[in-house]
């Protein structure tokens, strides 16, 4: 049975989740991937570039959405770009490991409770999951049209100049399906599979 989660998610709820749990997420979340993570880290954490254009305005707008919230590694196919009546057509997860250099800092900065993506993440993110606390939710890669059906509404978009896949889309989802593969207790399914498969690989290459 899948566990129903409503965003924002409380610390107690996050701590109750374990690797292997199936969940259905509902509420408002934000998409963000390579360009968004780099922009957040460079502008607001490492501060290697000064805020420009609408940077501060966007930061203030996304802060309350991400506090206790969830970021989704996703570059969607979006209809209605000409009219502004946006609709998600296809919206599966992208590979999360590319955000490994940024993710832990971003989680701490915003008090993120969840990261959705695919392929899992590394040690730094796992440590942040324990500290913040937070969980990594694995969506099914490639199941893009099915997942798009759980997106009830597109509420807005920030940084569209990053391009459609890289922009930060504010979406309202209902029963978005995912599996917990990294929990707030230091467990990672990805680390486990990596180690077990490595032992078998060594046998096959012996």
């Amino acid at each position: 049975m899948a566990i129903k989660l409503t965003i924002p998610i409380s610390d107690d709820t996050i701590r109750s989740l374990k690797v292997g749990h199936s969940v259905l997420l509902s509420g408002i979340m934000l998409t963000g991937r390579d360009a968004a993570h780099k922009w957040i880290v460079d502008t607001f954490i490492k501060k290697t570039r000064p805020p420009q254009g609408d940077d501060l305005e966007v930061f203030r707008a996304i802060q309350p959405l991400l506090n206790g919230g969830v970021i989704y590694h996703c570059g969607p196919v979006v209809a209605g770009l000409d009219t502004g009546h946006y609709r998600f057509v296809a919206a599966g997860p992208t590979t999360s490991i590319r955000e490994e250099p940024y993710q832990a800092d971003v989680m701490r900065l915003f008090n993120l409770k969840g990261v959705i993506g695919k392929g899992g993440m590394g040690e730094q993110t796992l440590r942040a999951c324990q500290e913040v606390p937070a969980a990594y939710f694995h969506a099914i890669g490639g199941a893009a049209s099915l997942i798009a059906q759980t997106v009830q509404r597109v509420l807005g978009v920030y940084k569209l100049e990053f391009g459609v896949p890289e922009a930060m889309w504010v979406i309202e989802v209902k029963d978005f399906p995912a599996v917990v593969t990294m929990d707030a207790h230091g467990n990672s399914l990805h680390e486990k599979v990596r180690q077990e498969s490595n032992a078998i690989l060594e046998d096959l290459l012996a």
Binding site: K118, G141, G142, A144, H190, K192, I200
Partner: protein, 290 residues
């Protein structure tokens, strides 16, 4: 020369939204092998439901509609220059119609062109003049997740104990599958090229993926190696999405090309489960798709 823009647009729609039958069959067989109730079983169930939905609704199977890679074989008399223009027009139209996500990003400015038309290398178009009367265009849509986990080995590789022989190829291939874990959207398919230079080896490894899943290699040694790599890759237990499970690789295709005496490349192109490749054939007035 005939204008094929509309027909190429249909090829793109068909490729992006309708998973080939042989690939779906392999996924269904994999689903039947996984333990009911496992995360692997659940992942494949979701994947198959998505495949049916996108075929019915004509929406992209995956939001990453990838690099459009065209392989065009044209008889004498056709103009590759004009075919290129028609392909580009069809790609821009397909993007407008949401069959493709805008994916062409300027590497220096980071700016997305918005229509999938970049420089002369995006979309990718390979032309070859051929005998006979038929023009064929094969299209592969290869997403970034699986492209990122592709690897090239220069043998001998001391760390892998991989020498310049088929055993070395096996070792490189299994290493590539292990390195990929679930990141390339397993269960995947492997296109492997032995030889060439670095560039041609990557192209040949993708061409190998144009073969059907159940198409046996005419070279018995390579046929045996394809079967063995698939079987051993599945023993790794990485499973669908890297959740752990029986289905990690659903097919391996190997090709060999000539090389320099000094070089021995083994190139592994990893294709995600959303293995989108379709073909159109033009015979006179008739256009067919498969």
């Amino acid at each position: 020369m005939r204008d094929l823009t509309e027909e190429i647009l249909e090829l793109i729609r068909f490729t992006s939204t309708n998973l080939p039958e042989d690939v779906e069959k392999a996924l269904r067989e994999a689903y039947a092998r996984e333990e009911p109730g496992s995360a692997a079983h659940g992942a494949l169930e979701t994947i198959l439901a998505n495949v049916e939905m996108t075929r019915r609704n004509s929406t992209p199977i995956c939001q990453d509609t990838g690099t459009p890679i065209f392989f065009v074989r044209y008889p004498e008399g056709w103009s590759p220059r004009r075919l290129r223009e028609q392909i580009k027009e069809a790609v821009a139209l397909a993007t407008q119609k949401n069959y493709l996500r805008p994916n062409a990003v300027d590497s220096l400015s980071g700016k997305n062109t918005g229509n999938n038309l970049g420089d002369q290398h995006f979309p990718v178009i390979h032309f070859e003049e051929c005998d006979g009367e038929e023009l064929t265009i094969e299209l592969m849509l290869k997403g970034g997740g699986c492209e990122n986990v592709g690897r090239q080995y220069s043998l001998p590789d001391n760390a892998l104990k991989a020498g310049r022989d088929l055993e070395g190829v096996r070792r490189a291939a299994l290493d590539a599958v292990w390195q990929a874990q679930g990141e390339g959207c397993a269960p995947g398919f492997l296109g492997i090229s032995i030889g060439g230079d670095r560039g041609t080896s990557y192209i040949a490894s993708k061409e190998a993926l144009l073969r059907k899943v159940d198409d046996p290699n005419p070279n018995p040694d390579l046929a045996g190696l394809e079967e063995r790599i698939t079987r051993e890759a599945n023993q790794l237990g990485i499973g669908p999405m890297g959740f752990g499970g029986k289905a990690t690789v659903l097919g391996t295709k190997i090709t060999a090309t000539h090389r320099l005496p000094a070089s021995f490349f083994v190139t592994v192109s990893y294709m995600c489960w959303a293995y989108r490749r379709r073909k159109m054939t033009v015979r006179g007035e008739q256009v067919t798709y498969e």
